[in-house]
Symmetry: C5
């Protein structure tokens, strides 16, 4: 099977299901349940104001703590989640609830937004096309938004935020002039944009399948079709709850989201809805393609049957007649007649013509 998610079956299972790995440990216990267990934990921080920016690629929890309440906006990005001790330290520095930390590590969360009063907790699924092999990478990304600080947790290095980092470094657009809430918006926007990238690819593949189908339906297409369906199922499972989460952001009930960011969040919400619309439309298209496939197959079977039937119904009776005159009875008057053979041929031609006429009228060819 073509595997568009570029993941082993075992991993797919884990993507669809969660909760079991933490079994038999008390709620709120931190256990990383993801795959990237060899990924070293690394902290990078970006501290910026309208006209300054400081970047630190190998930061420590201690120096991150100093960013708190510094007046400037800070983005602390953590990649690699298997060092639960360090993450616990971050949790206690920023006052994060143990259940939230558990959710961060427990990487098969349903996307959700939780307003914890002092901070917002947002979990989403980041999907992007891996540049090396064209497969789709899927990981959980969690955000903690405080007054002046955004902490993001990724399962491994490599994300869709390079353009945002660039804008931050170069001071393009309004990003450096806005707060941490705008930064959250910008990152979410990048994530949702990547859903579009994947759907664009999916759309192309659906059209390829369609075109191939028009030419010659075969079983490889069937597996392709099934793989696309499954991929859409997966994206759908990630995007529907995302809608709720973004809608929660957009309603802007938290004091952590300024009014100025409202218009942007509404825009983000529109994009999320558009992703959902597109996923649903693609699902409809795929089921249309499948119907087309089945009908085409049915038609092909029909055509094959018609050829068989035409040939068989013409020649089987003829063969019978020939068989009759191949019999060795001593008393068969026709055998001795002079014009038997030409008469035989004439009868054969007449039968064939009559049958062809009948099939033509039935529109079988």
């Amino acid at each position: 099977m073509h595997n568009p998610l570029n993941i082993s079956n075992g991993r797919l299972k884990r993507l669809f299901i969660s909760g079991s790995a933490k079994k038999d440990v008390p709620p709120g216990t931190m256990v990383y349940t993801g795959e990237q267990t060899a990924e070293p934990l690394r902290i990078t921080s970006l501290d910026y104001a309208a006209d300054t920016i400081a970047e630190e690629n190998d930061d420590s929890v201690e120096s991150c703590a100093l960013l708190k309440g510094s007046g400037s906006v800070s983005w602390i990005n953590i990649t690699g989640l298997n060092d639960t001790a360090v993450i616990g330290k971050i949790g206690s520095v920023f006052g994060i609830h143990p259940l939230v930390l558990e959710d961060i590590l427990h990487t098969a969360q349903r996307p959700k937004l939780e307003d914890m009063g002092d901070y917002l907790f947002l979990v989403v699924r980041m999907l992007f096309v891996e540049p090396e092999n064209g497969g789709i990478h899927s990981e959980q990304i969690s955000f903690i938004l405080t007054e002046d600080c955004l902490i993001s947790f990724q399962e491994r290095a490599g994300d869709v935020f390079d353009a945002v980092r660039d804008r931050l470094r170069k001071g393009h657009g309004r990003i450096r002039k806005m707060g941490a809430d705008y930064l959250l918006y910008a990152l979410m926007d990048a994530i949702v944009d990547n859903y579009f990238m994947i759907l664009e690819k999916t759309g192309e593949q659906i059209e390829d399948i369609e075109e191939a189908l028009m030419e010659n339906p075969n079983s490889l297409l069937l597996n392709e079709l099934y793989a696309q369906k499954r991929e859409l199922l997966y994206i759908r499972k990630a995007i529907w709850p995302l809608r709720e989460a973004v809608s929660g952001l957009e309603r802007g009930e938290s004091g952590l989201l300024s009014a100025k960011v409202g218009a942007y969040l509404r825009d983000l919400y529109d994009h999320t809805i558009q992703v959902i619309d597109t996923v649903e439309t693609f699902r409809d298209m795929l089921s249309g393609v499948q119907d087309l496939y089945l009908s085409s197959m049915g038609q092909k079977t029909n055509q094959v049957m018609q050829v068989l039937t035409i040939i068989a119904t013409i020649f089987i009776p003829l063969t019978f007649v020939a068989g009759i005159y191949g019999m060795n009875f001593e008393h068969m008057p026709e055998l001795g007649w002079k014009y038997s053979y030409p008469v035989f041929w004439i009868v054969m031609v007449l039968i064939t013509t009559a049958m062809l006429f009948y099939f033509r009228r039935k529109k079988w060819f």
Copy 2:
């Protein structure tokens, strides 16, 4: 495949998906993502009151700025969106939010209404049958409604508004006596009416398919059917969010919509609902037609099979019997008997009759 949307596959993709072209640029950046990149930007304006009308076909942003607050109602129509500088100028003259400008240029928007306080922003999809070739043209059209001014943005020249322009010029009906909100209604009404025109065409095609199907089901119909399904999917994707947008207009919460226009907007809303009803009914009809197709095919296969089976089951045993008496064994008493041959024929006729009787009882013919 028959292509009712008259668009290349590449373009279809873009119709269904948006968002990717603007990737890696900051939100609020103006980039035109549509197809009509060679279309020159042209501004036409219509400035009218109950008894005067001034029309300008090649207007400039500067003279448009003078129409603001002139007391009369102005309709500024911009065709061709790839000159982002000019559109940016219009934006700053009329005080349009950068995200709104981005949405105007980013031509795969989901239809929506946004109340920006000073102005309403409405994006819809205009579909019409191209008079030259009968294909369906689809483009995004955006409206900015201020106190006394309506600005419309089209991707290319050519629209469904000629009747409205005529009424404006000739002063027919109440249009010249009403404000910019009524003008918005009149234009929206023209757009929704064109959905009806397209659905009328679709309805005719569905009935053609139906009739052709009754006569002779074949694979061309299948592709037609699939194409119609896809077209309805496309219209549906455009009309469902339009419903919400028009419903927003109808609720009339904005001070920019006068009470007098309320009844008209309710009428517009009714029409939108009717378009949705019709699309859904057509989808139901198409799936009915498809079921009919599949059943007809199944029945045809069945019929073919029955013919084959009748012929084969009658003649195969007969041929076997003939084969027996074609054997060259030295000791076959029947061969020498005098009435073997006539008896053979009688047996043949009896077997055939019995079988025909059996098939008749089974209602195979």
Copy 3:
């Protein structure tokens, strides 16, 4: 195809679609878009109180105007809508909004209720079995309910109100003692009752199809089934919005509906819901019948295949063996043996028995 709606395809199209005929005329312009363009406009009026009744069969707009505010209840019924001048006059006498008049003439409205303050406007679809030919007649009927007057607009003469007229004339029941609101209820009740009549007919036809299917599935049934499906689609399109309209009446927010009529309107609403329930149940039944049809066809194909296979697999090998001993090789020892022929028969019988045993075990017959 059996055409249960008794309408030409062209007309069906118009039933499903509306809005196009009025294209390129200003909103609020009165153009009759229906079919009955030759139907002469005729006004009949019934003016009644508890103990008097006056009937006028060829009334004029002028004398109708006198009925306004006369203290008695008046029912003004207009048949034939193509004389827009007269209808315009009625509109101005009773103060009807131009958009309402447009909706009355524009006869493919979605059923709806509009509270216009001074009067209620109700549009519904009247369906009834035409007594002459058993076909289903479908037309739009509009009601204007004022304080003491009910105006109804029909496309052509002939309706379902004769029983109501009778009760009015004879003073049966409470109808003469109640107001115009009760009259509206009585007429609506007659309309909804006729939906039941049509569904009863549909139910009978579904059961006929079912029974015929049990005996012998064939392609005529398929077309019948499809026609029934389409008819239900049509009734459904008329009844779902009717539900909303009747629900609007039942909530009784308008001062034009007295509390006394409330219980009757609730009853009407219950009937409407029951029509919807029945339509949905019939749709479910039809799709059940269709599944049954498809399964029966599949089974029939299977049965045919089994007969073919049994006959062919038994006789094809036998024929081969007979063919062998029909060969003319000079050196075939079996040909000269004395018991070759009886042995040949014994082998044939053994092969046949074995095969029949095999097919029996496979439950093929």
Copy 4:
């Protein structure tokens, strides 16, 4: 067709449709529209308090009138509805609205609850397995609940209330200590319990079909399956509106329902929901069974085809070869060769082996 509802087709029609019989009579006119027109009207009454009970099996309207306001709780049960005069008298004694009386007689009501102020009106459908023949009996039962009196109307004698009557007579449980509202609950509970009885039977039949299907799919099963589907459709049509009615009771907005009965009504509501859940689950199971049936049929066809194809493709070429050496050409060198015949056999065996090998690789057997 197996007829699980034990009703003639004509009756089924009436079960699904109502409203027509009363056509052309004024609303509020009492006409019995059911089937049991020969059933004599009989009134039985049970008048009880905590420690007394009086039972009257052939009561008159007059003595029933005396039970009103007697301080004790009365249950008046009327069987047989075709004597409209008596029912009208009951109506006037207990002050029942004419439309309610019409609904009681008009026995194809949608289950509903109506709060008429002085009394509650509840219509439901009573389904039970007829002890004589195992068929399902379906009739409408109406309840009028006043302060201290419950009147029930049944179409014919025979119901599911014997256990309740027993408890009343013997004073078991709390029933004699509670009011008429508790009695209504107890009767409704008996009715809903009988839905479970029917569903239990349905469940057993579905499992029988399933098991039979696993062994040998055939067309009888198909009709069974269809009959079960239709029965569920019927129960569903009765139970969904019942849910609303019971929910109305449970919300307990009427002063006629005491707080003490609240917990019992909540329990009743839970049971109703459970009936709905079970019906929906059974529908899902049936459609699963149907899919299984279709797939099994498809597979059986496939298997049959494979046997045919294996036999035919092996023997048809062999027969051709045998046919060649049965030709009577004078110049066929092979005919005279000494080892032709054994070589022929070797070739035959080789061809057969090759083909079997090919089919094996294709996994055809």
Copy 5:
């Protein structure tokens, strides 16, 4: 059929249906309707505070009564429900409503939460993989939560709470420091986690089916598929109402649930939603797998048909020609010609080549 629920058909019936066993007994009567009628009733109690814990494995109702209001938190667990006398005693000690006791014993309840003022009543279904045989065990578990006491009722010994008991005994995590409400959460969390365990197993089986299907579709897979579908149906029936119940807990309207437990209950709710999402996704996947199966079967039939048709259409005409020259007519000039036989072979080869060419163009092989 593979039976993933490890239950006899009879038991399955009872799982899906309830209510009948208690028929003809007054509401509120205690009758155990489950299967484990031989299971002896056993009471175990755990009484704990932050630093103490007392465990009693064979407790009596009397000593349980002493735990009430003791200041410490108590968990009373009852296994085996057929001794209704003891359960009645517990009911009267803790003041439990008779209808609640009935629901506890009536073990086919729909999961639900009821706030009874003094205590909360929660019924859920506990599913877990039986360690001995890998089958799924399903039983009803009921909770009574009072101020400082949690009473749980199980049908038989053996549950999913061992990890919770361990944490209680060892004082791990915060469980000993929290109240009875947290204990309820911990037990519910264990139950929901076991749903994940089962779904994980289901997911693996779906993937196994998928893989097997890709290799060779056969009828065993079909039954597997059907069994999985049915299992999901069952889990779904248990989990959907659970969602409502947990949502009721999470809204925390009862004073018995402290604010501190709120975050945990929200987490529990998230997990429940995730179970639902997964069940729905699995259902979609299964129907995808089924479509794939059907298409594969269709394709296989097609392939088989093509082989048959190719062989038959090539050899049937050839056999006819051979049959002609096997006829014994005295006057057949070709028989005596010298090159008849080689010409015959050449014609045969030409016909075969032409046909193969035709089939190749039709893409049949």
